[in-house]
C-alpha cells in the first residue's frame, strides 16, 4: 500500500481527536505564557523576595542565606525552569506571607472569592438582565433613565466608599445584617472545610444556623460587587436588545400579531443570548480577580486580597499561584461559554 504524498507516518486523526489536541495544546501554551509573564514581571519589579522574607533588620548573612534558599542567586532562566517543573507537579512552593504551601493557601482563599463572586453574579444577572430588557423596550422613557442612572452609579461610585457606607447603614445603624468577615465568631470552626464555600459546606453538614449566618455575612459584600456587575450587564443587555428590536424579524413578528411579551422574550431575547453569555462570563471573571477593595472593606479572605498582599511583599510564589488559578478560571469560563453558545444557538454547533 502506498502512502499519499505529504502524509506523515501516522494515519490522520479523526476530527474529534484533532480538536481535543488543539484545545490541549492551546491550554498548555496559555498557561506556560501566563506563568512566564507573571514570573518574569515578578523578577524585574524593584522588590526583593529575600528581603520580604527576612525583614528590614536582617543581617547581611541572614539575607544572603535566604537568597540562596530561594534560589535567587541562580540565572533567571534556571529559576524559571525550576519553578516550572515544580509547578507542573502541583507544587507552587511556599508562601512567604503565610509560611504554608501556596496550594494550601489557594484552597482557602479561592473558595471565599468564588462564593462571593458567584453570589454577586447571581444578583447581577437576576436584576441586570430584566433591567436591561425593560430599559430597551421603554427606550428614552423614565424606566430607561432610571436604569441608566443606576448603571452610572455602579460604574462610578468608588466601591471602597460604598462598602463603608453600606456597613454603616445596614450593620451599624439599622442592625439588619452582620458586620465584616465570613462568619460571626460564634460559628467559626463548626463546619468542616469540604469545598471551602461556607454556604455549601454548612448546607452539606445540615448546619442551618451557620448557613444563615454565612448568608447574612455575604449579602453586603456581594451586593457591592453586584452593583458593578449589574450596571455592566444591564447596559449591555439594553444595547443587545435594542439591536435585536431593530431587526426585520421583530417587525415581522409584530405584524403577525404575536404578543409583545413573546416577541421580546421568545424571539429577540433568544437571539441575543450568545452575546449575553459572553458578557456575563466576562463579568464573572472580573469579579473573581477584581474584588480586592470589597475584600479589604469586608475583611473577606479572598484571592484578590491574597494576590495583592503577596505582590506588595514580593511573595512571588503566591502571586504566580494565584494568577494561575485566575487564569484557569478565565479559560474554564470561556470554555463553558463556548458550550453554552452551542446549546442556545444551533448555528454554533
Amino acid at each position: 500500500m502506498t502512502r499519499k504524498k505529504g502524509a506523515g507516518p501516522f494515519p490522520p486523526l479523526p476530527p474529534f481527536a484533532r480538536n481535543l489536541l488543539r484545545v490541549v495544546f492551546t491550554l498548555a501554551l496559555t498557561f506556560l505564557g501566563l506563568m512566564a509573564v507573571t514570573f518574569f514581571i515578578g523578577r524585574v519589579l524593584p522588590t526583593d523576595p529575600a528581603m520580604a522574607a527576612v525583614g528590614n533588620r536582617a543581617s547581611e548573612a541572614v539575607y544572603q542565606a535566604k537568597r540562596l534558599e530561594l534560589g535567587l542567586d541562580r540565572p533567571i532562566l534556571i529559576q524559571f525552569w525550576l519553578f516550572l517543573t515544580s509547578a507542573l507537579q502541583g507544587d507552587f512552593g511556599k508562601s512567604i506571607m503565610t509560611s504554608k504551601p501556596v496550594i494550601d493557601d489557594l484552597k482557602r482563599f479561592f473558595p471565599a472569592t468564588l462564593e462571593l463572586a458567584t453570589v454577586a453574579t447571581l444578583f447581577g444577572v437576576l436584576f441586570g438582565v430584566p433591567m436591561g430588557v425593560i430599559a430597551a423596550v421603554r427606550q428614552s422613557k423614565l424606566t430607561d433613565h432610571i436604569v441608566r442612572v443606576l448603571g452610572l452609579i455602579g460604574y462610578s461610585v468608588p466601591i471602597f466608599w460604598l462598602g463603608m457606607v453600606s456597613l454603616v447603614v445596614f450593620y451599624a445603624k439599622l442592625d439588619w445584617l452582620p458586620g465584616t468577615g465570613r462568619l460571626d465568631i460564634y460559628y467559626d470552626g463548626i463546619v468542616d472545610h469540604v469545598t471551602g464555600v461556607i454556604l455549601i459546606d454548612s448546607a452539606l453538614a445540615g448546619e442551618w444556623e451557620v448557613f444563615n449566618n454565612a448568608l447574612g455575612h455575604i449579602i453586603l459584600p456581594a451586593a457591592m460587587l453586584a452593583l458593578y456587575s449589574l450596571a455592566y450587564i444591564a447596559r449591555m443587555t439594553r444595547s443587545f436588545m435594542l439591536d435585536q428590536l431593530s431587526q426585520e424579524y421583530v417587525l415581522t413578528a409584530r405584524v403577525k400579531g404575536l404578543p409583545e411579551r413573546t416577541v421580546i422574550w421568545r424571539h429577540a431575547f433568544k437571539n441575543m443570548l450568545v452575546q449575553l453569555i459572553t458578557v456575563i462570563a466576562l463579568s464573572y471573571v472580573n469579579l473573581l480577580e477584581g474584588s480586592v477593595l470589597t475584600e479589604t472593606v469586608f475583611a473577606w479572605p479572598g484571592i484578590g486580597l491574597y494576590i495583592t498582599n503577596s505582590l506588595f511583599n514580593a511573595d512571588m510564589n503566591a502571586v504566580i499561584g494565584g494568577t494561575i488559578v485566575i487564569g484557569a478560571c478565565f479559560i474554564g469560563i470561556n470554555m463553558l461559554s463556548d458550550v453554552l453558545y452551542r446549546l442556545v444557538d444551533p448555528r454554533a454547533r
Partner: protein
C-alpha cells in the same frame, strides 16, 4: 441547631469568656519564636511562650525571671548561671527542664534567622553554642559569654522573643532534615505560656485557648480571638457595635470620633517606635554639620505632632525611647527657619544654593504627610526636595544599599536594653561598602564616627548600672546635635476598648501585650 430562616440574623456581642480583638494581622507570617520579628506575631508568641527573662504586667519596667527562678554571675561576669523555676508545664503536658531552655537558645543561634543577632552578639555561633549554653542538670542552665558585654545587657536580651522556651521533645518529634522542627513550628505551638494556639489562618484570624496549667494561674478569658480587619473604619464599627472587645489600628480621626461614645474607652500608652529623618553621608552636602543642623531646625515638630499626627506621636529627639531605662528626654530642637537659613548660608548654601535632594519614605500615613511637611520646609530654605514613596519591599533594599539621600523611617528596639538602639544608631565599626553591616542604621547612612562607636561599645560593657545609664544618656545627648539623624517623634499607642473589658495591659515595647490579665 436553629432551623433555617429566610432573614439572616446578626448576632451582636462577644462571649463573656472570650476576648475578641480586631486588628490588621497581615504581618503575621510565622509563629516560630526563633524567627518572629513582626508586631502582630510578637504579640501572639508573647502569650504562647514563657521567656527566660521577662517583664510582668504589674511592673513593665522591672526585669524579672520568666522560666528562671534566680540567676548569678561569675566574678568576671562572663558566666551566668540560671536556676529553673519549678513546675512549668508545656501545652503538650511535658514538664519544662533546663534541657528545654538550653535547646531553645541553641536553636535560635543554629537556625540563624533574622533575630538571631540578639544572641550571636554574645559571641555564640552555630559551632560553639552547644559548649557555651549548657544544662548541667535538670534545674540549671549555664550561659558563657565570650563577647565583652555587660551581664545586665545579656539578661535584658534574654527577655526578647528569641528568649522564648520551646518544648524540645515536641519540636524534635517534628524535625525534618535536621531543621530543628523549624518548618513545623512556623505554624504550630510548642509553648508553656498562658495561651495555646488553636488556629492561625493567615490574614483571617488567630484563635488562642487558655492553658489551664500556666504558671501564673488560670487566666479569666478562656479564648482570645484576633480577627483580621484591615480597614480601620470597619474596626471602629465593630467596636461600637460590641462585636469586638478591642480595636487596635484605629486612626486619629476614628479615635476622636469614639471619644465620649457610650460603652467605649480609649487606652493611651507610650510605645518604643521612633520616627526619624536620616541623611546619607555618601551625599557630600549632607556631611556638613551646619547643613545637618539646618535640617533639624527646619522640621515643624510641634505642628506635625498636633495636626498631622494628632497625638499619635509625641516629640522625642533621642535614640532611646522615653519611658524606658536610660532614656534621655530633652528635646532641644524646635522649628526655627531663620536659624536654619543662617546655618545653610554659613555652610555656603545661601537661599538653598540650588540644592536638590530626594526624600524616600513609606507610601503610607503618616510617613508621606511628614515627608510633605519636610519638603515644604526645605522649599522655604530654597532646597528643592523630591519625595519618593515606596512600599517596604522596595524601600528597604534601597536603604540597605545606601541609595537614598534623605529618608524618613521608623525604628523600634529589638529588646529592652539601650544597646539595642545604640548599636543601630551609633555603632559602625566598619563603614566600607563591602562590610555590609546592613542591620545598623549608622552603616546604612554611611555615618561612622569613632567616638560614637567607642562610646556605644563602652556602655555595652559597663557593669555598673548607674554609670551605664549615664553613658547612654550622654551618648544620646551628643548625637542629638552631632549625627546624621534628626530623631523626631515617639509613637503613642492608642486602642479602642469596650468599657466592660478591664486590665488589658500593654507596655512600651511592641511585644509587651498581655491577654492573661484581661477580665470582662
Amino acid at each position: 441547631m436553629m432551623a433555617f430562616s429566610a432573614a439572616p440574623v446578626a448576632q451582636a456581642g462577644t462571649p463573656k469568656d472570650t476576648f475578641v480583638i480586631a486588628r490588621n494581622i497581615a504581618d503575621i507570617i510565622n509563629l516560630d519564636p526563633a524567627e518572629v520579628f513582626e508586631f502582630s506575631g510578637a504579640e501572639v508568641i508573647t502569650n504562647m511562650y514563657d521567656r527566660v527573662m521577662t517583664f510582668e504586667p504589674d511592673n513593665l519596667t522591672k526585669l524579672v525571671g520568666g522560666t528562671t527562678e534566680s540567676y548569678s554571675f561569675s566574678e568576671d561576669g562572663k558566666t551566668i548561671t540560671l536556676k529553673m523555676r519549678k513546675g512549668i508545664v508545656f501545652h503538650s503536658g511535658n514538664p519544662m527542664t533546663a534541657e528545654d531552655v538550653a535547646f531553645s537558645l541553641q536553636r535560635v543561634v543554629k537556625l540563624k534567622k533574622t533575630p538571631s543577632f540578639i544572641f550571636t552578639q554574645f559571641g555564640w555561633d552555630k559551632d560553639n553554642v552547644d559548649g557555651l549554653v549548657t544544662a548541667p542538670d535538670a534545674d540549671t542552665v549555664v550561659l558563657k559569654i565570650t563577647a565583652d558585654l555587660s551581664p545586665g545587657l545579656v539578661l535584658n536580651a534574654l527577655s526578647a522573643g528569641v528568649g522564648s522556651v520551646v518544648d524540645k521533645k515536641l519540636v524534635l518529634s517534628h524535625e525534618k532534615d535536621g531543621d530543628l522542627g523549624y518548618e513545623w513550628l512556623k505554624t504550630n505551638d510548642a509553648g508553656s505560656g498562658p495561651y495555646m494556639l488553636k488556629t492561625w489562618k493567615a490574614s483571617e484570624l488567630v484563635v488562642l485557648e487558655r492553658h489551664d496549667k500556666d504558671r501564673h494561674g488560670v487566666a479569666a478569658m478562656k479564648r482570645v480571638i484576633i480577627r483580621h480587619v484591615a480597614e480601620a473604619s470597619a474596626q471602629r464599627l465593630l467596636l461600637e457595635k460590641g462585636d469586638v472587645d478591642a480595636s487596635e489600628d484605629l486612626t486619629a480621626d476614628q479615635l476622636k470620633g469614639l471619644e465620649g461614645k457610650e460603652g467605649v474607652e480609649i487606652d493611651t500608652f507610650p510605645q518604643s517606635n521612633l520616627m526619624y529623618l536620616a541623611m546619607n553621608q555618601d551625599v557630600k552636602v549632607l556631611t556638613d554639620p551646619k547643613v545637618q543642623d539646618a535640617l533639624r531646625y527646619a522640621i515643624d515638630y510641634s505642628g506635625l505632632s498636633e495636626s498631622v499626627l494628632q497625638g499619635s506621636y509625641k516629640i522625642h529627639q533621642a535614640f532611646w525611647p522615653s519611658g524606658m531605662w536610660a532614656s534621655y528626654d530633652e528635646n532641644p530642637y524646635s522649628m526655627n527657619m531663620d536659624k536654619a537659613k543662617a546655618l545653610l548660608a554659613e555652610a555656603g548654601y545661601k537661599d538653598g544654593g540650588g540644592l536638590k535632594l530626594t526624600i524616600d519614605t513609606l507610601n503610607k500615613s503618616p510617613f508621606k504627610e511628614v515627608a510633605q511637611s519636610v519638603q515644604s520646609s526645605l522649599k522655604q530654605l530654597g532646597i528643592d526636595a523630591e519625595i519618593i514613596l515606596s512600599d517596604g519591599a522596595t524601600l528597604w533594599p534601597k536603604y540597605r544599599a545606601r541609595k537614598h539621600q534623605l529618608i524618613i523611617a521608623r525604628w523600634g528596639p529589638d529588646y529592652s536594653d539601650p544597646h539595642s538602639n545604640a548599636d543601630a544608631f551609633a555603632h559602625n565599626p566598619d563603614n566600607r561598602m563591602e562590610a555590609k553591616l546592613t542591620g545598623k542604621l549608622s552603616w546604612r547612612n554611611a555615618w561612622a564616627k569613632d567616638w560614637a562607636t567607642k562610646e556605644a561599645e563602652a556602655a555595652a560593657k559597663e557593669t555598673d548600672l548607674v554609670k551605664r545609664e549615664a553613658m547612654y544618656k550622654e551618648l544620646q545627648k551628643k548625637m542629638q546635635s552631632d549625627s546624621c539623624y534628626a530623631i523626631m517623634f515617639q509613637l503613642v499607642g492608642k486602642i479602642g476598648r469596650r468599657a466592660n473589658v478591664k486590665n488589658y495591659v500593654r507596655g512600651v515595647t511592641f511585644d509587651q501585650v498581655y491577654f492573661r490579665t484581661v477580665t470582662k
